[in-house]
């Protein structure tokens, strides 16, 4: 145990994902030794990110404004929605430059062990977006693992009766994988070879 605020810092850092007690301690002492200006800048962006960044009211991607850059871009195809689990998946797909439609970020995948059911995901919001008939194709780009596949199947069942084309990214993505880590070429190919899902 360290004194007062040093221990507080270690405890706070230890709450971050992927940071164990040892790493927390290492980062804390790095901060203690760092240039005060650097630390002030870090503190500033931490506060700013919470103040300024919100979630797009249309697609729930991270955004600086009311809507994200993709949703605000009039050149993006309004008839296409690509459904992903997390904002980081949007970044991965944008890198491929294969997709010209818009997104919908679910905020996770169905995962009973993790306590995530349909109500914990932005499924109702997705259904609402489809109501006016503008969207004609839904691309289900949840992760190619068990939870992602099940989420895609569940969405296909819920949305199938609405009569739009529902596709799933083509295989070639390693099963058990994570979209974020699929390389650009593979992910790009998965987009061009997407298949229709039977609900």
């Amino acid at each position: 145990m360290y004194e007062g605020v040093v221990q507080d810092l270690i405890d706070e850092l230890g709450l971050l994902p992927g940071i164990g007690p040892k790493s927390a301690q290492r980062i804390a002492f790095h901060i203690l030794a760092a240039d005060p200006a650097d630390v002030r800048r870090l503190a500033h962006v931490l506060i700013e990110v919470k103040d300024k960044v919100r979630f797009c009211r249309i697609c729930f991607n991270v955004a600086q404004e009311e809507t994200c850059r993709v949703c605000a871009d009039p050149r993006r195809d309004q008839a296409l929605i690509c459904v992903v689990e997390e904002p980081k998946d949007v970044v991965a797909i944008e890198r491929t430059r294969e997709f010209r439609g818009r997104y919908h970020v679910l905020g996770g995948a169905i995962n009973p062990i993790g306590g995530v059911g349909p109500d914990n995901l932005r499924i109702r919001e997705l259904v609402a977006r489809l109501a006016d008939g503008t969207v004609t194709e839904l691309i289900l780009a949840t992760d190619p693992n068990t939870e992602g596949e099940v989420t895609a199947s569940y969405l296909a069942r819920q949305i199938g009766p609405m009569g739009l084309r529902i596709t799933r990214l083509a295989s070639g993505l390693p099963m058990g994988g994570d979209l974020e880590w699929a390389d650009e070429v593979t992910l790009g190919r998965a987009f061009s070879g997407r298949r229709v899902v039977e609900a």
């Binding site: 009973p112 062990i113 306590g115 059911g117 349909p118 099940v150 199947s153 069942r157 390693p174």
Partner: protein, 465 residues
């Protein structure tokens, strides 16, 4: 195939070991606790990414070390491959093939094929159904590595689905509704992966049955009976794909020739557990027994796959009247899926009440029999041993006929066997491309297994002959 080089760093009791191996038989002898099993365990790990002794990786890393490295150079069809594995407890292992990293360690499965015989094998016969399911699934992976993914997918779906049932069940008992909106979707995925696994297991059991019968007869035969040296891996000599009936013929007087094409056998396995299908009456419906060759004596080894739901009766193959017999007579994947869905629907309420998944290949068993009686609970110690050996010998034969002759690893098995079983086993494995044998007592190793000899003492391995 064979291993030409084994190199260990901080694996079990070995800080550093370099071992050059040759085709043929190599024997490791030494007192208890000197590190003999550790050697074959390392070779087995390179092949299966699992130890035959422990379920977790931690004991594989030398006490005090952070990681273990196992390197193995193998030769297969005159081509060499170098497999390197780094074992770090609590973290994902890392693997390299020919010095370049592979995406996942799982990708090296299937490069080195092994069949390991060990004292632990007795559990295949005497142990829980889980032991036999693992035996089947490990063999599936050895034959076709893609089943590692099928198995992993099935297990993941099973875990998630069972948690959903448990949570919903608890909510219902607490007076709530319990959210089961996603259950149908989980059912779909459970059936998809479950049927893939089940179909493969059913096919595997059919392929194994005549070999197991033949191998058991060969191992357990009365002294003086001619040993069918080719009973197990014979097809490798006569060119791959020799008909099973031929291999079986040489070992059993009234052969299993009829069995592989007997349309009744899957139907026999189809009867739900606890029904009249148990025991010898099961074949009566279509006039056949489940894989038991007609007219054979009481000590014939047989086996029946027991499925957690009633298997649909497969279509009767055409061309029965003496003509060529078509092989595949198991129910189609579609029929299996339909039957599994039906059973899931039937037990749904029970599943929710109990919070467990009651249908699927994780509930199945491979019933082993000697004569009319189940081996488990009935067979003597010696008979159980012979059956366990027969399962391993049959695996060896099957992989060999697949064109992937495995390296045989015999860990301490001779000490467990009487003289005649010892000699018979030795004769059956001696022709293999490579056999690694461990024994505490040198005299326990039959003369038929002469070859290179090493002494293992205190973590050093020295050539003794």
């Amino acid at each position: 195939m064979h291993v030409t080089h084994l190199s260990l760093t901080d694996f079990r009791s070995y800080p550093a070991l370099e071992l050059v191996l040759e085709p043929g038989v190599t024997t490791f002898t030494g007192a208890n606790g000197q590190g003999k099993t550790n050697l074959v365990e390392a070779v087995g790990y390179v092949s299966t990414l699992a130890s035959h002794r422990v379920a977790s990786d931690a004991p594989l890393v030398r006490a005090g070390a952070a990681r273990a490295v196992v390197r193995s150079r193998i030769v297969r069809d005159d081509r060499a491959a170098l497999i390197e594995l780094e074992i770090v407890p609590g973290k994902a292992n890392r693997a390299r093939l020919n010095r370049s990293a592979v995406g996942r360690p799982r990708d090296i499965l299937g490069i080195l094929a092994t069949v390991l015989f060990a004292p632990e094998d007795l559990a295949l016969v005497k142990g829980d159904p889980g032991e036999r399911r693992r035996f089947l699934d490990d063999l599936l992976v050895a034959r076709a590595p893609r089943f590692a993914a099928v198995r992993a997918d099935y297990e993941r779906v099973l875990k998630q689905r069972s948690m959903l049932l448990k949570t919903a069940g608890a909510a219902r008992r607490g007076g709530g509704a319990g959210d089961l909106r996603t259950l149908d979707v989980w059912d779909g995925h459970l059936v998809q992966h479950g049927v893939e696994l089940l179909a493969a297991r059913l096919d595997l059991v059919e392929a194994l049955r005549p070999r197991v019968t033949a191998a058991y007869a060969a191992v357990a035969a009365e002294p003086g009976t001619p040993v069918a040296g080719t009973a197990v891996a014979g097809a490798a000599d006569s060119g791959a794909g020799g008909p099973d009936s031929e291999t079986a013929d040489s070992a059993v007087p009234a052969p299993v020739a009829g069995a592989p094409s007997d349309p009744g056998r899957v139907a026999a396995a189809a009867s739900p557990p606890g029904s009249a299908a148990n025991g010898s009456a099961n074949g009566s419906a279509n006039g056949s027994t489940d894989g038991r060759p007609p007219g054979v004596g009481p000590s014939v080894a047989g086996m029946t796959y027991r499925c957690s739901f009633p298997l649909p009766v497969p279509p009767r193959p055409a061309g029965e009247a003496g003509g060529p017999v078509p092989d595949a007579v198991r129910p189609s994947a579609e029929a299996l899926a339909e039957a599994m869905f039906a059973e899931l629907a039937r037990v749904r309420k029970q599943e929710i009440d109990r919070g467990v998944t009651l249908v699927g290949p994780h509930r199945d068993d491979l019933e082993l029999r000697i004569g009319e009686l189940p081996a488990r609970g009935y067979a003597s110690h010696g008979e159980s041993w012979s059956y366990a050996l027969a399962l391993r010998l049959a695996s060896f034969g099957l992989l060999t006929d697949d064109g992937r002759e495995p390296v045989l690893l015999l860990d301490d098995v001779f000490a467990e066997l009487d003289g005649s079983r010892r000699d018979r086993l030795a004769e059956l494995v001696a022709p293999a491309e490579q056999v690694l044998v461990t024994a505490a007592v040198e005299a326990d190793v039959p003369a038929a297994l002469a070859g290179a000899h090493y002494r293992v003492a205190g973590g050093t391995v020295t050539r003794a002959g």
